[in-house]
Symmetry: C4
Subunit: 203 residues, 4 copies
């Protein structure tokens, strides 16, 4: 049993493959949560079809904001894992927590599609994103515990996620649309040249 005695934890290759898989699937499943209203059928007249397809614009906005958010998280996850040279137990647990919350996002999107853009649904969505930011923080802490070279103060990315997602949630309590727009702008902000890179350098 000597070859098993070294406290082996998962290989980084499979850790990355599994994480990439969950990110890719969660981001792609989002589309299944978009829905036409229940009356839609092959008997709907063309004018009504056009009206409905334009009328569900909040679903497009939620889809775009969530896709961009998960995409940015995947990029940051990749940069964080890049610096790891072994996968400890703490990293595994924090990563499963993070993936479990990211996989939950399509449900928050579905809630928004069913109930529409209301105070409860945007708060539900914002709380989910806030929990994801927290799980990401746990993963970073676990990574730093295992790899002292990566220890450093909280990065800008953390502060943004840990302050602006709760803020967007509170804004959503007043105006659901404003809350959603803030979440979407956060994703756009990360997509600007320099921001992802600097976030990645610091993550």
């Amino acid at each position: 049993m000597s070859h098993q005695a070294a406290g082996f934890v998962l290989s980084k290759t499979r850790f990355e493959a599994f994480s990439d898989g969950v990110f890719a699937i969660a981001i792609t499943l989002l589309v299944l949560q978009l829905h036409l209203p229940s009356g839609a059928s092959a008997h709907s007249p063309a004018a009504e079809q056009v009206h409905v397809l334009l009328d569900i614009w909040p679903q497009y906005l939620v889809y775009a904001a969530t896709f961009a958010t998960v995409g940015v998280m995947w990029v940051n996850h990749g940069a964080l894992v890049h610096h790891m040279d072994r996968i400890t137990h703490g990293i595994l647990v924090a990563n499963l927590l993070l993936l479990g919350l990211i996989s939950f996002l399509p449900f928050a999107t579905y809630v928004l599609a069913v109930y529409g853009l209301t105070r409860p649904t945007i708060v539900y969505y914002g709380v989910t994103l806030t929990l994801i930011s927290l799980a990401y923080l746990f993963l970073q802490r676990a990574a730093m515990a295992a790899h002292p070279a990566t220890r450093r103060p909280l990065s800008a990315w953390n502060w943004v996620g840990l302050t602006l997602y709760p803020a967007a949630t509170l804004i959503g309590l007043i105006s659901p649309l404003a809350g959603l727009v803030v979440i979407g702008l956060l994703a756009v902000y990360y997509a600007l040249p320099g921001n992802v890179q600097s976030a990645m350098l610091r993550s």
Copy 2:
């Protein structure tokens, strides 16, 4: 922190794994959007079952056309990424945009399955394909900006996508079936020997 100072962006391996995952999932999710009419149940007589299974042929056509189109895009994406040696920020953003639009295709397919082959649904589908062609163009431009050796005029593939998808959309305004057939023929055209290869050589 010196090992983090080099403007690291994502490794090509994870970039490819994530992109392949999204392509594979989007193409496979299409099938979930095929539907029997709402009256279908275990109480439907056999003759009606046969009738319904033949009667939903436009769904088969949409499935085949979309599967072939995504498949061809995946092949071209593979050829394009093959020439990249580093993943810049611009490539990342253009790629997320492209993947977000490709992941949206199952919704356009679902709209076609629910409303049937009508003017609004084929235009919706054609506009989605046109946006995908645009996103692919952005990705190509980002790739060329990072890899000067790949700079060259727009390839035949671009012109086809950027002119024939809008054309098919307009044709769909007159005859929805004709529009869908044009989109299907485009995929068949790419599947002919020589065309994929020459498109790939130029892409």
Copy 3:
């Protein structure tokens, strides 16, 4: 442009990754097509819940038969690709056709779940499996055309797929349950020691 002049087609790594992805997703999506009857709700009494969960046994049988069939096809696909050293255009097209049909299987499963085990549904399912066998044959031919060393007469696996799936379809015309059992037994046959291996040696 000289580095692009060699008629490059896709790398084997991405070809395998994409194919594995589609196989894994199609096999996992099957479960989404299992359904409780439409009356099922939180108000159903416990005795009825037990009754329903046992009563949908044909869905379990279809799930098991399809999962085993796709699993065996994935194993054979792996053995076939193992012998390829380059991915030609013909291989790409035949592979997309095969993956498109395998991705379609969850719909045939859904038809069986909605309409029950009837003559039309088992014929529909059997025809899909027969088309998959044909597409696999095309892929084999394309592989042999590119790799002369792999040329040989049709293997036992081909004859089984190309004769027994149509036979099971015809049997299903007389007795749907018998047709489904034949399809299930085919998968069990491949799972016996020696059969997969000999099929793989010949494939």
Copy 4:
């Protein structure tokens, strides 16, 4: 045909890629089985929306317990495969059986979401987990048969799975909530430092 004569079975790389894919997809599909009650619509008042989103807490519990359980199984699967140097026919068949049962878990989750936390639904869920433990045992036996160096008595992990999942099923017959809590605690137990690692060392 000499290069095919060596009794080739699947490469470990594709075996891992396919298994990782199925684990990642099954764990991510769970979210699609969460549902709002059938009356939910854009016309539901905000107070009712809040009430419903809190009221479906058993679905959150099932989601968390199942996600954690599949995550832990994936970790153990990774540790087991790590010790394999070739994929025999027996390993392939046992692995397909295991993956087929893990892919079935979203249906057991869906049954719980539709019928609620009742005696039949928790027993159904517990029996599925027990069958998964059995399939994992088969996979271990197949691995040991092929790799004598890994032979050893049943590990703690096995005993836990093979005794506590049936126990939780029986507890669920008396109190469904208690049964679900036991299953959740099992996943939490594995997540404690030392337990996964020692399970992995022994698996």
